[in-house]
């Protein structure tokens, strides 16, 4: 409790959750309604809606963590506590890991709510064998969200509006991550871009487990691993960017 209490307090104070309606609206209504918008729009065509159903859940995961971690860094700066934190002996990695944890739990809750609502409304059958793959893909997608959040936080510390980068990346994820539509279906050149972003491998893993059954579980888990590796790469990029910004700030 002694370890987590300040982070819990920070989590509540640095975000808009002092108003419970803000939490419900942002973490639950927004991702559910976005999922219904896409799944509803694609359910009118003849094809399967598995991709948008699970893709929007992964999108909710990545978006929640990305916004959360961006605000973790950005609001710390805006409310004047970041400089004290930088000057203390606390390790940057501990600050980021402990600070990200509530957002990871939040994102998981949010994506499970999205998935449950969409599956119920559109009466989609999910085989039991796919559950572990779905959960593993959601967990792997958290890493990508953290990495993108760190990067956005670092950019925000350089004077860019806190909400700009997460919103730009959010649009990029909708278009190219494969959450709603395979990237090469939008434009051929977007295919390679999509593979560098979170969600792409995760959603493919879920699709393999759903459409090819238990015989292809190994392939599905390989894709989950790929999703986790992409996430780790983004954490490395975001962490390095933040480290540079922190070092400059400490020096100047």
């Amino acid at each position: 409790m002694r370890l987590t209490a300040p982070y819990w307090l920070g989590y509540r104070a640095l975000f808009t959750w002092l108003n419970p309606l803000g939490y419900v609206s942002t973490r639950l209504v927004q991702p559910v309604a976005t999922a219904l918008l896409f799944v509803g729009a694609l359910s009118v065509s003849a094809g399967s809606v598995n991709r948008p159903v699970f893709g929007t859940a992964l999108l909710a995961t990545v978006s929640a963590v990305m916004f959360g971690v961006t605000l973790l860094v950005g609001n710390d700066d805006e409310f004047g506590t970041l400089d004290y934190r930088i000057l203390t002996s606390q390790r940057l990695s501990r600050y980021l890991v402990t600070g990200s944890l509530p957002h990871m739990l939040d994102a998981l809750l949010s994506s499970l709510v999205v998935l449950s609502v969409v599956v119920l409304i559109f009466q989609i059958t999910v085989p039991a064998s796919a559950f572990p793959v779905v959960l593993a893909a959601l967990l792997a997608a958290l890493l990508g969200g953290i990495g993108l959040g760190l990067l956005c936080g670092a950019i925000a510390l350089r004077g860019v509006n806190l909400f700009l980068m997460p919103n730009i990346i959010g649009s990029l994820l909708v278009l190219t991550s494969g959450a709603i539509v395979a990237p090469d279906q939008v434009a051929e050149w977007l295919g390679p871009v999509g593979t560098l972003l979170p969600i792409n491998a995760g959603v493919e893993a879920v699709l393999v487990s759903l459409e090819q059954g238990e015989t292809h579980l190994a392939q599905a888990y390989q894709l989950v691993l790929a999703e986790a590796l992409v996430g780790c790469a983004w954490i490395a990029v975001g962490g390095a960017a933040l480290h540079v910004v922190f070092r400059r700030r400490r020096a100047g």
Partner: protein, 246 residues
């Protein structure tokens, strides 16, 4: 009152007309959504998709700027300063909200051109009443933005309170696909939305004029409600002064 409204309107355009958020919410987001829908359905560019994308741009831009604008004005102490004067408290923020929606309306034709160029298609199912649909969508977005501005202005810690409203309104209004596929509760909610009439129309463009007229009445009623709601802001803040906080 009119001068304060006009001043708010000019301020909004001066501050945000070409801001990155305006470009992102009014142009990039609707284009991305439309491209994704067209690609996933494997279909041509239809008027319904164009209008849906346009409304996403209008509503995202209007509400996003309304939220930021109210927060800025609260941080700057505009509300408490105006409350101590005989000036109309709601007029400058109403002016800024109207400016934000008009800014989105100016970008709407640009969105159309960008989508036509990117897809290399011209929507062929534009009906006789398409212009009326666009106008009603604009009126609907205006009323929703003004109501959101009014709600944001009344409550403290309100930054995230209305984040979920935009996608929810879009879903229940039948953006990109008829809301009839949704559960009954959401369908009933959709009947209250001023955007359902213009958005939830048959793919072939054969719109029922009676439904559009009904929608125009609903849109007008919502616009009147939004004006009334904003006009009552000083009284609401007097009763609940915590609303002055951001």
């Amino acid at each position: 009152m009119r001068r304060a409204l006009w001043a708010g309107f000019k301020l909004q355009l001066k501050l945000e007309a070409f801001g990155p958020f305006a470009i992102l919410s009014a142009l990039v987001t609707p284009v991305v959504y439309a491209l994704v829908i067209i690609a996933a359905r494997g279909e041509i560019l239809t008027f319904n998709v164009l209008l849906g994308a346009g409304v996403i741009g209008l509503l995202s831009n209007g509400t996003m700027h309304a939220i930021f604008m109210v927060l800025d004005e609260k941080y700057d102490g505009t509300f408490s300063t105006l409350a101590a004067t005989p000036a109309a408290l709601a007029a400058p923020i109403a002016g800024r909200a109207i400016g934000a929606v008009l800014q989105g309306a100016v970008v709407f034709p640009v969105t159309v051109v960008v989508l036509v160029v990117l897809t290399r298609q011209v929507p062929d199912n534009m009906g006789v009443y398409s212009a009326l649909q666009v106008l009603l969508a604009f009126v609907g977005v205006m009323s929703i933005t003004l109501i959101i501005t009014g709600v944001m202005s009344r409550y403290e810690y309100s930054a995230g309170m209305l984040n979920g409203m935009v996608p929810l309104i879009l879903v229940v209004s039948g953006t990109f696909a008829s809301q009839q596929r949704l559960p009954d509760l959401l369908v009933y909610l959709g009947w209250l939305s001023p955007l359902t009439g213009p958005l939830d129309t048959p793919e072939d463009g054969q719109v029922d004029l009676r439904l559009l007229l009904l929608s125009a009445t609903l849109g007008g009623a919502w616009l009147a409600v939004s004006a009334w709601y904003l006009a009552r802001l000083p009284e609401a803040l007097r009763k609940r002064p915590r609303g002055y906080e951001a």
